[in-house]
Structures are given as structure tokens and as C-alpha cells.
Amino acid sequence: MDNGKQALRDEHIASEHEIFQPRGLPEALELKEKFGGEAIFIAGGTLIQLQREQGIELPRYLISLEKATELKGGVADEAGGVVIGALTPLADLRLHYAIVKGCGLLIVAAKGVGSPAIRNRATIGGNIIYGVGDLIPALLSLDAELTVYEQGGFREINLWEFIKNREEMKSFILASIKIPVRTLLDTERTFYRKIGRREAFIPSVVTVSGRCSIREDGRIADIRIAAGGGASAPQRLVRCEDKLLGAHLNSVTLKEIYSDICKEYTPTPDAFLGTRYRKLAAANVIVSELEQLIADREGK
């Protein structure tokens, strides 16, 4: 009987939805152009499944990217940095030495997404295209570059630029993510923290990530601060970054940075937690990390 029911369900899907499995990116893009708003790309499908459960109508045409040969998941340690294929499942990130060595933040971030079953299916590309994925703040703090496929071929674009300009982009497919190599200075601190309403298997309320290094003269050599969470599009806190870059950490008080972060970070509230909480939590975590960086340096 169970099988009979399954057959009915499949029949139902088949009658209303069509699934394409193009072998290459040009074909995939062509299909998307053809069906426009009636079609979506699908990779791991975990988010689309969740949205469907939430009552969002499943578009009529599903264009699976899993068979596109250019998109094979995987990680390559290239000259300019670590290149991660867009279809790489989140659970696989920790299996690659290049990531473990140079982008530990990504592993921490990936481990906090959904549940093990979800991480086995969900891809890094999907997490980015979602727009509010947990990996984005970590990728922003690592200065990630994206390679997207558009009509006319591949193009590289910085993740932060991509986030700001995505609305204006025509149809595209995310092909890979590159984490550029950077020279490590004496004192560098990276951090990633996801805050949810329970310990695990939980959407983020606030996600912050950052990277800060200090030169020998005590001035900040490089800094990235990113914050997202919930329905808030992840943002780089560029005004805070600019203020801190080149400054002596001791010359800017923690109180000032705290207040700047609260001003610059503009989270979206929901029925459970308001804007104020999100600002306070994000600012606290970031400032505590900077304080720790000072302590680390003074400890030397």
C-alpha cells in the first residue's frame, strides 16, 4: 500500500513539475532564460525543500545543476588561493587539507549549518546563493572571490561586490569560490560565531565573522568584519573596518567600536528577536574578539 501511495505522489509531481538535468552550464543557462521566473536552479535542494514545506510554491521547472560537468564539487589548492567547487557539500569541506590549513573559519561555519543529513546534501554554492547563508559572513571575512558563469562566459567577482550588485545581475550560475592566499602576520585573530535560539539545528539569529591582524608597530594591518543572521543580508561593516585599519588598537576605545558596530550593523527583526538584541549580541562578540587580540599581543 505504501508503494501505491508513493506512485500516486510521483505521478502528481510529474504532472505539474518538470525536472531538467543539463550536462553543461550553457544548456542550464539557456533553460533558465527560456522559462524565466517559472524555473529555478537546484543543487542539494535542502533549502528549496524547506521553503516548499513552508508553503512557498515550488516553481514549475527545476533545473538541476548536479550533472553539469563544469561544476564538479571539489577543492583545488591553486597558486592564488584555494578554489572550492560550488557543488561541494558542506560536510565535505573539512575533508580538504587546503581548507583545514587556510580557511578553518569555513569549517566552523559549515558545521553549524542544519543537521548532518542537511550538510551532506547542501552545497557551498547553494549557501551563498541563498543570500543569507551562514557561510557568507565567514567568506566575507576571508575576502572570497566568486566565479560566475553568465551569457558570454566566466567572470570573477568579489563576494562583497556580488552581494551589493546581485539584484542587477542577469541570469548566472555560481561555479566556484576562491579564498585568496594572504600573508600571515605575527598577530592575527579570526573568529566566527553563530547565535541561534537553541544550540544546534537552528537558523541563525546573528552571525558574525572577522579577521584582524596587527603589525609589529601595533597598528592594524588588515581587518574584515562581517555580520548577518536571520533574514538580514550579511554585510561587511566597512565603516568600522576603515576606522580601524592602520589605527593603533589602543587608540580607539572598545566602547567606541562597540557603538560604531551597533550603528553600522542593520539587522532585520522577526517575531522572536528584535533589532536591538541582534545589534548588542553582534557588537559584544566582535568587541570581545578585538579585546582578546589586544590581550594576545600584550601576552607576547
Binding site: 537553541r198 537558523p203 538584541y277
Partner: protein, 761 residues
Amino acid sequence: MEHEENARKQSRVRPDGAGKVSGSLQYLTDLYFPDMLFGKILRSSFPHARILSICTEKARQLPGVKAVITHKDVPGLNGFGLIVPDQPVLCMEIARYVGDAIAAVAADTIETAEKALKLIEVEYEPLPVIDTPEKAMAPDAPQLHDNGNVMHRAGHKKGDVGKGFEQCSFIVEETYRVPRQMHVYMETEGGVIVPEKNGTLTVYVGTQHGYKDRFQLARILGMPEEQIRIISSPIGGSFGGKDELNIQPYGAMLALITGCPVKIHQTRKESVISGLKRHPMKIIMKTGASKEGKLLAHKVEILADTGAYATLGPAILDFAVEHAAGPYMVPNVDVEGVSVFTNNGVAGEFRGFGGNQITFALESQIDRLAEKLGMDPLEFRRRNIRKAADAGPLGQRIAETNGASEVLEGISPAFEKRKAEAEKWNLEHKWKRRGVGAAIAMHGGGLGYGRLDPAGGRLSLTNAGKIQAAFGFEECGQGILAVIETIMVEELSCGVEDLEIVIGDTAVVPHSGSTTASRGTSMVWLAVQRMKKDFADGLLTGASRMTNIPEANLRLGNGGIFRRKGTHPIVTYRELAQFLSKDAPLIVSSRFDFPTTPDKIDSGHFLYSFSGVLVQVEVDILTGQIKMVHLDQTISAGPVVNPAGYTGQIEGGGVMGIGYALMEEAVMVEGRYAAENLDSYLVPSICDVPELKVMPVETLAEGDQYGPRGVGEIGTVAVAPAITKAIHDALGHWVQTLPVSAEEIITACGERGMNKWMKTT
């Protein structure tokens, strides 16, 4: 001592355990029948609206649709409700909450039924939404029911609180708010209703009281009760939530109209929207004590949001009123409770039954007073706690019990240890602080004085030679089968293999009352006590006649009847059954009422259980998040029947209590659920569960004849106040609203300057 007891007692493998953990067990929602149709229920589009018209024409015309029903198709009473049938089966004029049913469809697939729902045209005139009890009580509020918006009032007075407060050196007055919690049973409401060839109806739907469903369905269908058979176990969780009718009436009407079996199985979203929740309450408490630490006066006002319909709401308010002073002896008490109708869902029966709400407020008061007195909070409790022979909270006589003191002293030694651990830990951590809190609770079992609360059971020897134990209880995950098995084997000395346990089927089980109110274990034990002698005598007499050995030289054993000192059966139960079946079969049954107080005090309980809860929490100063570190519970509920089942109930209840305190809230915005699924309505996951410890105190008062008490609820009751006290211990901040808000905690940390950069206002 507890350790010895535990060592003596072996945990039993649950009879239903293997099937459940392997997934091979079929729940009632897993059943399929030939020609089965699928039903769906159309719920109201508005939390409060006048229904101007319902047109089902287009839905009926959809191929695959077999029936569409509205209020016009209800053959009998268009109403249900365990106390008052005030909830329409299908709304005629007014919809009072978003789960109100407007129409129902049977079709050959779920998808067709869903499509048909969208084709039903309902014209509504939205009405003002009463989304808080305060609005409901306003003089100009629209009245949701003929008798107004007050569903029920209850109160209890003792002494003179006015005079009592005059004598107090310390008084604490506070307003507490507790949330709408959802049961979140894993199996959502559902099952199959089958119209039989002989005109009867078989209802395969989980419920906590098969006979009560039969009674309510008969009234709705205009059918004699005897023509309805309820098969109601196993159930994939209930926690009180499936005590009331849910999808049964729609499935039954659709089955009768189409002549086909109809399956309805709600999605999680449908379950959230239509299902019961725990009553949110606002509780104002004013409590005073002398400078010596004696409680002198306690004034309580309870405002409960019962939602659109009554179900067991009146009894829940009564329970909260009764437990407002809990295990403390206070000379002057004044409790006033009111439960009001709103357009917020329907609140009803839920594990703890009003006790969790009131205990949070009461224990919070006790801790605040102890702080004012500068007294150790456990010592303050010690000075006011009831003694074994004291009267119950309503002044009624109760079964003697020293449980309150026993649980308090049970947690006392670990309290200091946990505090020392936390203090040491805090020295080593910069951004986190740990704290320790404790709370105790007293919880009545059974329905209370003045309520029909019959119990009973039946023992028989089947023709196949099985000792059949039949009870009208339901297996909803709590482990009643293991309880029945344990008690039967211990009391009759037979083997597990000799037993056949029958529950959950009105065609074959006796009336045992509802599987609620921590009464199952008590009732099985009491019933077996009443029946065992007659039943054993019947077996021994039979065996004696068969073997010509005097009864006095025979005994019951594993596999059959033994000689008193024999090592193997001389007559197997099968042989005995064959012998006895020539005359009258051996059947012994018992019907009695759950023990109540002899005093005529409405709703007063007689048997109580107690819990002492000790928790350690970790507060994240940067984010305001609370993490549980330890949850220890000492429980006094008489002898443990099945240690694994007992531990499971207390641990599971404890985790539910953690959810209640820290994350669970079915938030409603203008009468609509803000979280309609488990992606945003949160229950604890295993990562939120701390180290758990359960310590039973098994002693009963001398001469106690009531045996083991049920432990289905007691593990949830006092967890929240222990958690909030632990937060206070860590930060110095008192919480008065559940679930604890991370924003409140982060603000409290800021105000206390726990980070040098913080300057929150």
C-alpha cells in the same frame, strides 16, 4: 538507600520498545485499507469572523473528490468538548480561531483533497480579534460565547490575607508571565475511520480515553455508542494534547457519507494551527513572611488565556488555584483565578495541567523572599514546608506523605556541591558565568474531588492459556505496557511469556478512565491489588481440581501452577485453560474510583507526588544565551515500578521543562501563529540537554495502601523556576517572564557592567 532500591529492581525491556526503535511498529496513522480515501479539513482564514456563506460546488466537481461536508452535514450535536461541548465540529456562523473547522473533504488522493480545499469558497466578515485576555475582559469587548468571555472562575481563601500582610516583615509582589507551549508529539493527529458492513464504525485514531471519544462521537454522529468502536493505541505521543477530540469527527462523517475508509493525518502545520496548547497565564503574586522566615500571607491572581473553546480549561484553572501555595503551610491565603476566552488558538490539557504555570510563580516568590530575608533559599523552604500529616493545599485531608521534605532534603547536599563547582568555574571564565538554582513542587494525581474518575481492569485466563490483563488505558509513549507487565509479574508471580496485555480498544477493554493526570500507574496497581487474590484463587482451585493436590500446596509461577516448593509447573496455564473452559471461563474484573479526599472540596486531590529540582546553568554574557549544565531531580512518588520507564518520564519531563523555560513559545500575532512549524517553534534538541540525574525516594507513609504514584507529569513541573533562580545566582537578575529572553539577559549583563564597553540602556 535509593541505590540499593535501584539495584534490587531490574529495568524491564518495554514490550513495545523494539518495534518502536526499529520503526517496524505500525502506528494508527500508518494503516491503509482497501478503497481508502484521504480527508482534509478546511480551517478558518481568520481568527475571528462571521461566516456569510460557504459554497462547496466547485470543490465537489473536482474529479477524485468523493464528499465535501459543512455544518449542514453534522447528523447530531454540532459541538464537542470534554467538559462543555462548546466547540463546533463545523462552524456555522462564527469562527473563533484560526483552527476552527469550516468544511472537510474526502478524495482519492491527499493532493486532490488539498486542491478541493482551495476550491471551497467561504465568504467571511472579519470581526475584531481579541488577542489578549485583558482585551477579553474589557467592558466593551465583543463577547465570544453566549455566556460572555469569562470561561471559568475559581478561588480559594484561608485566614485573612489583609491581616497577614500587616504582620509581615518582608513582602514580595511580582507579576509573572508564562508562555503558550505546544506538545510537539512526534506523531501528529490522525488515523483511519472505517465504516463496517454491519453499519458500525471503527475509529483507528489515537486518544487518551477511548470511551470518552466514543461518547463524544456518538453525540456528534447521532449514533448509539455501542455501534462505535475506538481503537486508540499505540499513539506517537500525546502529553495531554490528544485528550480532546481532534480529527475524529471529520473522518467519521466523511466515512459514513462515502461508505469508504477515510484517513486523515494532519501535517505539522495543520497540527500547530488546530491543536491544543498549554495555557498562557499572567500570575500576580504577593507573598509575605515574618523576619524569622515564616510565610504569613499569600495573595494570588491568575489570568489564563483559554483561547476560543473550553475543553478542560476549567479543570486546569482549578488545578492552578489548588497548587498556588504548593507544599507550603501559609496561614493566610487568597487565590483568585479567571480563565477567559480569546481568539488565540485553544489552550487545554498539557502535562502538568496548570501546575507548571503556578509553580514557576510560587517558587520564584519563595526565592525572592529568601533573598530579602537574607536566608538560604532551601532553609527558608524548610521552615515553611508541610509535614507528613498536614492537610492538603485546599485544607482537605490527603493521603499522608512526607514527600515535600524528602525531595527538599534530597537535593540539599548536592546544592552546596554544585554551587562550589560553579564558583570555581566562574573564576576561570571571562565571558560566561554559571549559577545554581533549586525549586520544589507538589502535584496532585487523578482528577480530584467531585469529578467522575472511575478506574478498573479485568484479568482472565484465555482459551489459549494466556493470563490476559485488560485495561482501558492507552500507550502514548509513556510505557504503560511495561508498567502493566511489571505489576502483573510481580503481583501474580507469573512469567512475562504467560501474559497477554490488552489496551486501547473499546470492543475488548474495560472502563479504566482516562490516561491522564498521572493516574495510569496508580490505577493499574490498585486494580491488580483488588483482583489478584480472586484471580489467583480461581487458577489454584482449578489446578487443584485437575490434580487433586490441595490448593494450599500450590502456587502460581512462570509457565503454570507449581507445587509450593516445586521447580517446574505441574500444570501449564494452557492445560489449565483447557480444563477450565469446560465450565465457566475464569474472569475477574474490578471497577472502583480513583481515591479522592473524603472532604467535600471541589477538585481537591488526595494522592500527591513531589519533585525537587536542582540545576546549574551557564549564562553567556556576550549573547545572553543560557546553556543548561546540570539538571538533577529528586522525585517522591512511591515505589518505582519500572526503573527505565520512571527515569524516562522524569528525564523527558525535565527536558520539556527546559524547553518551557528557555525556548518554547507559540507566539501569536493578532490571533495567528507566528511559528507554524518546527523550524521556528523550537523544542530542545539533544545538544540543549544537560547531564541529567534522577533520584527516586520510594518510601511511603506507614500503612499507605495506594502504592506507586504515576510520574507522567511531576518531572516537568518545577524545572523552570530552578532555571530562573540559577540565572539569578549567576547574574543577580530576576526573570519573571518565560521563556527567558536573550535580549533581557544581554541587557541585564550590560546594566551590571559585566563588560567594560557595554552601555545599554
